[in-house]
Amino acid sequence: MKKILLTLAALAMTTGAFAQDNVDFKAVLAKVDAQTNFKGDASAKVTIQSKKPGENDNIMQAQYFRRDAEDKFMILILKPEVNKGQGYLKIEDNIIFYDPESRKFSKLTGSGNFQDSNAKNSDFQASSLSEDYNIVESGREKLQAKDTWVLTLKAKKNDVTYPKMKIWVEVATNLMLKSEDYSLSDRLMRTSLYGKYVNIDGRFLATRMRFEDNLKKGEVTDLVLENPSLAKLPDSVFSQAYLEKVNN
């Protein structure tokens, strides 16, 4: 009886391994990108709540506009009053920050933190995991009772924010539920959790995200996206002139 059980278990494991081997993880990664990138424009209101030990919570609201097909985004800060009118504009490989107080534009990097939160500027751009990373390891795990593929990714290029990532992709939906972001020295720097997605016209928008800093204990940022819309946006929204105009 014991032998039979062991044989069955071994068979089950082998079948599992075969099943895993047969999965085209490149295609999975491509699906993760494709499902979360929009063909046309998208916009939403975003609330960012940052918690740091010993400090009051910092709550910020912004209007978030995306045009994934052209790799552009625009974020316009609405609250708090002190940051109102500040803007982030991504055009091609450049992220430009506008400060209405000095009326000056400055260039930012994708790896920079968004408004002193644990979100990175690059977190707001279209997903390009399949373009930026190679899969070096794969596995299958349960994450909060959900069946997930666990993929370890190594950057193809040396200019992406994180040289290594470990991502948990739900088997049933091909949506990323969690990622661990590692430094060049292979230290875990950040854990990102994607708590909720909404389906808009066949594409998925993560509406609840949490970024936990693994280096700075207790630092957490929650992002909530509301009122998502796929309405077409005027071209002028993705321009420096727009940032100046809304502040006049």
Binding site: A155, D159, T161, S183, M189, K216
Partner: protein
């Protein structure tokens, strides 16, 4: 008796009036001497203290732009640079080759702070080794280690002591996130408000690893000169020599101005920028220069008031001494001599006031320099050994001497000319 000695006697004759007028001039000069001395003292100490914290007095930085528009700071051809520097016979004490991680997060178990981490040679014989004022630890064992040198203020903020671990997080030169652990190897005396300029220091290969700079390369080539005041002179010479050597160069400017150029322009290969400590401190120096200018303008306003006073006083004097002028003219004194008598009086009054004001100003500065300001911790970057450095600006004294003397003479010119024009008969007929 000469006209000059008569003028001196006249001043002595009217002591009270002379003291009041000379005192007003002295007060103005006292103020400007103290302001110039203080700003000179603060600039000199700042320059000297900063030059102990930064990695040179003349800096050359290589810049490369990637296809994606990212600016990489790199320096590969240091042998050629060494050759040029030696050929020019630049009197330097030390050449530093450093890699800097700007605005790195320095993280302890309790807190985080953001400042630059400079990778440099901190071992025996290095400039920083000799010039850093340590309060704890030592630098001898830094080469080849993962030790970090931080300021007292940072140690306090992060709540760390010698041997404690710190994680340093920053971008690599290509923009990837990286983090490495360092251990507190030494703590230096807090430079107060300049802490952000100073930052933390570690061994060059370790910071290269953090920034993913290939070992053997670095970001900035720095020259510590024998005399920091020659930085601009040698900077200009070196720049011209590099130009003739066909080094691709950026125009001269402050690091802030250059960063704008790097952002806006596109180029291929490595292009070098050269700036001096003065260029880097131009903003701070500008504040002190503005202070000097404001003090000078206030002095000028003050002297306009004093000039009106002098003109009125001399009109009164001429009026009071009309009969005396008549007598002098009757005894054979010529018109120009009478005019000069009053002009000399004004010039002597001005000179006396200026000298008195200057001496008093120097005494105030000496007094201030004797005060122990060790409690003024945040601003000790502006001090020398916890005291204000006694600095007397002789050049501006000479300038003030000429300007104020000329103004005083000008103020007295109109009444003096009027006195010179009086005829003896007319003057003697006067009844006052």
């Amino acid at each position: 008796m000469s006209v000059a000695s008569m003028a001196l006697k006249n001043l002595a004759r009217q002591k009270r009036r002379s003291i009041l007028l000379g005192g007003a001039i002295a007060f103005g000069i006292l103020i400007i001497t103290v302001v110039n001395g203080l700003s000179g003292s603060l600039i000199t100490s700042l320059e000297a203290n900063i030059s102990n914290l930064v990695s040179g007095h003349i800096f050359i930085r290589g810049t490369e732009k990637t296809d994606k528009g990212r600016v990489l700071y790199t320096f590969k051809d240091d042998k050629k640079m060494d050759e040029v520097v030696n050929r020019l016979k630049i009197p330097y004490k030390y050449i530093s080759k450093t890699t800097v991680a700007q605005q790195a997060s320095i993280i302890s178990d309790f807190a985080t702070t953001y400042q630059s981490v400079t990778g440099a040679d901190l071992g025996l014989g290095s400039y920083l080794h000799d010039r850093m004022t340590l309060v704890e630890g030592e630098l001898d064992t830094f080469p080849g280690s993962d030790k970090i040198l931080i300021s007292e203020g940072v140690a306090k903020k992060l709540d760390v002591k010698l041997g404690d671990r710190l994680s340093v997080q920053t971008d690599t030169i290509t923009g990837q996130q990286n983090v490495l652990d360092f251990y507190v190897g030494a703590i230096y005396k807090d430079p107060g408000v300049a802490a952000s300029l100073a930052g933390a220091y570690a061994d060059l290969p370790r910071v290269n690893q953090l920034r993913d700079v290939p070992q053997g390369e670095f970001n900035i080539y720095g020259l510590f000169l024998e005399d920091v005041s020659t930085a601009d002179f040698w900077g200009a010479k070196l720049y011209e020599e590099l130009k003739t050597e066909a080094f691709p160069l950026w125009q001269r400017g402050s690091p802030q101005e250059l960063v704008k150029l790097f952002r806006d322009e596109t180029w291929t290969g490595i292009k070098y920028s050269l700036f001096t400590l003065n260029d880097a401190l131009s903003f701070i120096k500008g504040i002190f220069q503005s202070l000097n200018l404001i003090a000078f303008l206030i002095l000028m306003v003050l002297f306009v008031v004093i000039m009106v006073g002098i003109t009125n006083t001399y009109r009164m004097i001429v009026y009071e001494r009309t009969r005396e002028i008549g007598t002098l003219r009757a005894l054979g004194m010529q018109r120009p001599e009478v005019r000069n008598l009053f002009l000399y009086e004004a010039i002597f009054l001005g000179l006396g006031g200026i000298l008195a004001g200057f001496v008093l100003g120097v005494l105030v500065l000496v007094g201030l320099s004797l005060i122990d300001l060790s409690a003024w911790k945040d601003f000790n970057i502006l001090l020398k050994d916890n005291h204000l450095k006694l600095t007397v600006d002789f050049a501006s004294f000479a300038f003030n001497l000429i300007v104020v003397t000329a103004l005083t003479a000008l103020a007295a010119l109109f009444p003096a000319r009027r006195a010179g024009k009086l005829t003896p008969a007319e003057a003697l007929r006067t009844t006052n």
